[in-house]
């Protein structure tokens, strides 16, 4: 497989053409929600990712996003949403594990084997790690999820203080 095909695997092209998880959050009683806008200042790609959380179980119940950008950034967000659906949502802790595993894979320069159990189809983005200028594209949605986890935890901490 040539370098270009390694980067643009069929799965990535499919996700960028028909992205999963675009939409809005349903308003549900007792759930907290958070929204985060993330931008890649070097190319102008932008994405807003929203999640909702059941604070009793610390389970993320919904994950949706909207955005504009290159096929890598859009496919990566779509694959994240797909993974979320396939697993019927993550706990906050599981989400953190997956973000960490994804970041490690993307920053590995192709040197480590990604954890397929944690990352599912997201391992198709492994080829990005060889293209340093595209790392930010692949991370966009995942960084937005991470920021939302901070926001949710901060709002729980504030609620507990009261």
């Amino acid at each position: 497989m040539n370098e270009l095909d390694q980067l643009y695997q069929q799965l990535i092209l499919e996700h960028s053409r028909r992205p999963i998880g675009k939409g809005t959050l349903e308003d549900r009683d007792g759930e907290l929600s958070a929204s985060h806008y993330e931008m890649n200042p070097s190319c102008g790609d932008e994405l807003t990712l929203k999640v909702s959380l059941d604070p009793q179980t610390m389970q993320l119940t919904q994950l949706v996003w909207e955005g504009q950008g290159c096929s890598i950034s859009m496919a990566s967000a779509s694959i994240l949403a797909q993974l979320f659906r396939d697993e019927d949502g993550f706990t906050v802790e599981q989400a953190r594990e997956r973000i960490a595993a994804f970041r490690e894979m993307i920053q590995s320069r192709g040197k480590t084997e990604p954890d397929e159990d944690l990352l599912g189809d997201a391992v198709a983005l492994q080829g990005v790690s060889k293209f340093i200028m595209r790392i930010k594209c692949a991370m966009l949605g995942w960084v937005a999820l991470e920021a939302n986890l901070h926001k949710l935890e901060a709002s729980i901490a504030t609620a507990n203080d009261k």
Binding site: L4, L7, C43, G44, D45, G69, C70, I72, R134
Partner: protein
């Protein structure tokens, strides 16, 4: 009519540049460098001039009393003379800065200082609520953000001339925005995204008719066409060394003598002063007043060599060569129905570059395919987000040429675009 270069001339110029003489190979072919708009490659004479200076003459300039510092100072000032002559200015009107961005900040921050207790009450630079700073929607962020800050500091309003769907604006648009409240009108000579060349002389006449000061961002014009700031009638202008075959880390600020005389130095320190006491300082006349601290001396020597290289070939001939290349580029783009050409829809009023949107495809993805083909272009928003937004896009693909560019390199770019469209299953 000045003749464009013959193929043997281009070949000879390319042999002057180590980057082209011994090129990086991609898939067995030399890299097609179509990114001079971002940074230009440097001829050996520029690299040699810097090295010679560093090896044989390196000394502090405008300091000390040794013969060596005297020689270094002479070379440093000779570059200033050469650059001044190159753009139709006096040496005293040329200030070295850390870059064109820095030069724009030096103007905007100097004007801001003139509006504090440091400025005189009848300052030429007086700005107050109700006054207007005018820019265009097509500006590079470097010619926008410093004016936003100046407006915030002084209470003046920032206004802008909007662009049309092609990302361009006209003298008629300018006429409806320039009025007696306009105090500063800052605009680009050649857009780094659309390649559109503004009618500078008409615009400076218009500004003068209402008493507004003009600031010209000449980064994309000075390296490519003959430019004479005095004839253009601009009050201030900036350009950068590394886009005109010179070293990095150096920019040029041009200011009309009577304005530089009045402009407060936004950066102060050693060597810009005359008498310093514990309480206060008095400053040298321009240009040294604006050159506090250690200067980028070897880079200044380098830009002198760059100017010599350009002048030996002749800016008219360079402009004529690039005009022909750009016509070829625009024609090729217009033949591909899957491309949207940004800027002027033909090759007139256009200098040195063309940017496109590939329908249905993000610029990053196009750039990736071109990269694999050994064609280097710029993809992204080119530091002009508002302009892209006005055209309904977030990014574009830009090919920019210089005196060393060949028609074959342009063809490789056009082929690369078709390859990208094919790769992502799009029509070309």
């Amino acid at each position: 009519m000045v003749k464009p270069f013959s193929s043997s001339e281009i070949k000879s110029f390319r042999s002057d540049f180590p980057f082209f003489a011994d090129p990086t190979l991609v898939g067995g072919r030399p890299l097609a460098y179509l990114d001079s708009g971002a940074t230009s490659q440097r001829p050996k004479t520029v690299l040699d001039a810097e090295r010679f200076f560093l090896e044989k003459q390196n000394s502090a300039v405008h300091r000390g009393a040794s013969i060596a510092t005297g020689n270094a100072t002479s070379s440093f000032e000779a570059s200033r003379e050469a650059v001044a002559k190159f753009v139709g200015a006096e040496a005293s009107e040329i200030v070295w800065t850390a870059g064109a961005t820095d030069a724009l900040n030096l103007i905007a921050q100097g004007i801001a200082e003139a509006n504090t207790s440091l400025g005189s009450s009848n300052s030429l630079f007086k700005l107050e609520p109700g006054d207007e700073i005018l820019v265009t929607e097509a500006e590079h962020h470097a010619n926008l953000v410093p004016w936003q800050r100046l407006a915030l500091k002084t209470g003046a309003s920032l206004r802008w001339i909007p662009v049309n769907e092609h990302g361009i604006w006209s003298i008629d648009d300018a006429r409806s925005y320039v009025n007696k409240r306009t105090k500063i009108f800052a605009f680009g000579h050649v857009s780094n995204v659309t390649g559109f060349k503004a009618p500078v002389r008409e615009l400076t006449d218009l500004a003068r008719s209402v008493g507004a000061m003009t600031v010209l961002d000449a980064c994309q014009s000075v390296p490519h066409v003959p430019v004479n700031f005095t004839n253009l009638g601009v009050d201030f202008a900036v350009f950068s060394s590394h886009k005109m075959l010179g070293p990095n880390g150096l920019g040029v600020l041009y200011g009309k003598a009577e304005l530089l005389d009045e402009l407060p130095p936004a950066r102060t320190g050693g060597s810009a002063i005359t008498r310093v006491t514990m309480e206060q300082a008095e400053f040298l006349p321009p240009p040294l007043r604006f050159e506090a601290g250690t200067q980028a001396v070897s880079q200044v020597i380098g830009i002198g060599a760059a100017v010599k290289y350009l002048e030996d070939i002749g800016m008219q001939r360079i402009a004529s060569h690039e005009e022909e290349l750009v016509a070829h580029l625009v024609e090729g783009v217009n033949k591909n129905s899957g491309l949207r050409l940004l800027g002027p829809q033909n090759s007139s009023h256009r200098v040195a570059l063309a940017s496109v949107e590939v329908n249905g495809l993000h610029a990053h993805d196009v750039g990736q395919v071109l990269d694999g083909e050994g064609v280097q272009v710029r993809v992204g928003h080119h530091c002009a987000q508002p302009l892209h937004r006005a055209m309904g896009i977030t990014s574009s693909v830009r090919a920019s040429v210089h005196l060393t560019t060949t028609e074959d390199e342009i063809d490789r770019f056009l082929d690369g675009l078709r390859k990208a469209q094919k790769y992502f299953d799009l029509e070309s």
